[in-house]
Amino acid sequence: MYFDYLNALVFASVGFVFVFINVIIGSIIRPRRKGTQGLEVYECGEETLGDAWIKFDIRYYTVALVYVIFAVEIGFLFPVFGVFGDIVSGQTSTIGNLALVHVLVFVVVLFFGLVAVWAKGDLDWVMTYKAREWEPSRPRRLPLARTVADLEEEQSATDDPSGDDTDEGTTSEGAEAPATA
């Protein structure tokens, strides 16, 4: 057992190191050109506005929450189903068909949980939250090229109040927040 997992560990570290080896080889053999133009964050040719480290939407959180529960369930059921066939055929245990009842109860109970969450509408994706405008409580360390607030001042009152958030619906420091009426 230890040998097999050791192999897994060795291979994972090889994959890890492989990347850095290639990067180093590349840095040795490639021609050197210095320039800063390419180092800007890509924004479709426009000047880069602010940074992307924004407050993200809660709907992703719900998805991950449901996953954690089901990951634990998978963890419980994996060993059970690995031996299920042997148990019901009476090879490894004397429980026999009672095993089916136990498994049925387990899965059906979890199924009810899924149904309950579904019925409450928590599995629905499109829930339009209006995000609160966020202001940094302390001055930020990272340099900002130009904040969204600057931009809004420049093109004052051109915002459409019905600004929809069809996609992720996140706000980049109030970029998509409802405009003040």
């Binding site: 850095f20 590349g26 964050v41």
Partner: protein
């Protein structure tokens, strides 16, 4: 070196055995293990690189022919077979760019994490009866765990880039993989029940009967729906179309890898193709007979330890995996991309309940008929 002495003597790993046959008497076991690990590592790196290179070439060819084009035709001569090789050299020679606003350490760490996870997952895959890197007792569970590790690498890449495109792509990737890991795991309970083992080696060996067609997919009526669910979830796990929202090029530029270029970028590509291959291989092992086919059944009993048999077995599994990879490529040019809310509702509202129903049905079937 008691840790290795314990195992190296008992393992059926082909490299250890091969080296044990060649090495002079009295070679310490740790040297044998080191040799076996070295050979395994060399083979694995070469294998993953070859699979990725061939897959990239295949992808370009398949997409070209579906669109009535030729695709790459010049590099190397015959149908542009060396195109990926040339691309690889080009990528190695490209400028190594890290955006100014990026989180530099995480930016450099992310591709390594992603590739390390996929290499670790490939350990559990047996290509032929004696041709495996490690006979992990819980191979399937290990593959699931390692493939969930790649998600963290992708989120890291997206966040460290400090680009809006990257962040959106990374968050979508995380949400999507998290949502589809559930039906993936649950649908695999069905073959697990039939196989009675987590080890991919044992599962492959169990499917040899009746001209090598004693495949799990024929063992239980719930296997086919389980496979369909598995395949859809595998598409989402490997971020292939129609689930390629994390790198949707028409809306997110390149998703989480927008800021990556050159050799660093190529590792994400390598991971994607290795993951496609791995998922197809897991499907082949747990649904379609592993390395068994009528061709391997032709070998008489005493020939099944020979090298030729091993090679035919490995060829069979690789062929089956590439059939899966081809179907994934075919789907990419057939189906339009889904929306994020469609992806999410499909994962939790349709695939997960269906997979649970499949598992219950299969459990009842196993109890009554098997």
């Amino acid at each position: 070196m008691n840790l290795m002495a314990l195992e190296a003597a008992t393992t059926g790993n082909a490299f250890t055995e091969l080296l044990g046959g060649i090495a002079p008497e009295g070679t310490p076991t740790w040297a044998l293990w080191l040799g076996a690990a070295g050979a395994g590592v060399g083979i694995l790196v070469a294998f993953v690189s070859l699979v990725a290179m061939f897959s990239v070439w295949l992808e370009r060819k398949v997409s070209a022919h579906i669109q009535c084009r030729y695709g790459p035709m010049y590099a190397g001569g015959w149908h542009g077979w060396a195109q990926t090789l040339a691309d690889g050299v080009k990528l190695l020679l490209k400028e190594d760019m890290i955006p100014l606003g990026a989180d530099k350490p995480l930016f450099m760490l992310a591709p390594a994490l992603v590739l390390g996870a996929i290499f670790g997952a490939l350990v559990a895959l047996p290509l032929a009866p004696g041709f495996f890197f490690a006979d992990v007792n819980m191979g399937l569970f290990l593959i699931l765990a390692f493939s969930s590790l790649t998600t963290i690498g992708v989120v890291m890449a997206g966040w460290a880039s400090n680009s809006k495109w990257s962040l959106y792509g990374a968050m979508r990737e995380a949400a999507q993989v998290v949502a589809y890991e559930v039906p993936l795991g649950v649908s695999l309970f069905v073959p697990l029940m039939v196989a009675g083992t987590f080890s991919l080696t044992e599962a492959s060996a169990a499917q040899s009967g009746w001209f090598g067609m004693h495949w799990f997919i024929f063992q239980n009526p719930f296997m086919l729906p389980a496979f369909i669910i598995f395949f859809i979830a595998a598409l989402a796990e490997t971020k292939r179309a129609p689930f390629d929202l994390p790198e949707a090029e028409s809306e997110l530029v390149a998703g989480f890898m927008t800021e990556y270029s050159g050799i660093r970028w190529s590792f994400f590509f390598m991971e994607e193709y290795a993951a496609m291959f791995l998922m197809s291989a897991v499907g082949a092992v747990f649904f379609f007979g592993g390395y068994h086919s009528p061709l391997t059944a032709l070998f008489p009993e005493e020939a099944t330890t020979g090298l030729l048999y091993q090679l035919v077995c490995a060829g069979t599994l690789i062929f089956k995996s590439f059939v899966g990879v081809f179907v994934m490529m075919w789907l990419r040019w057939t189906l339009p991309r889904l929306r994020i809310d469609q992806v999410m509702s499909m994962g939790y509202k349709y695939l997960t309940p269906l997979a649970l129903v499949c598992v219950l049905g299969a459990a009842i079937w196993e109890t009554i008929f098997a």
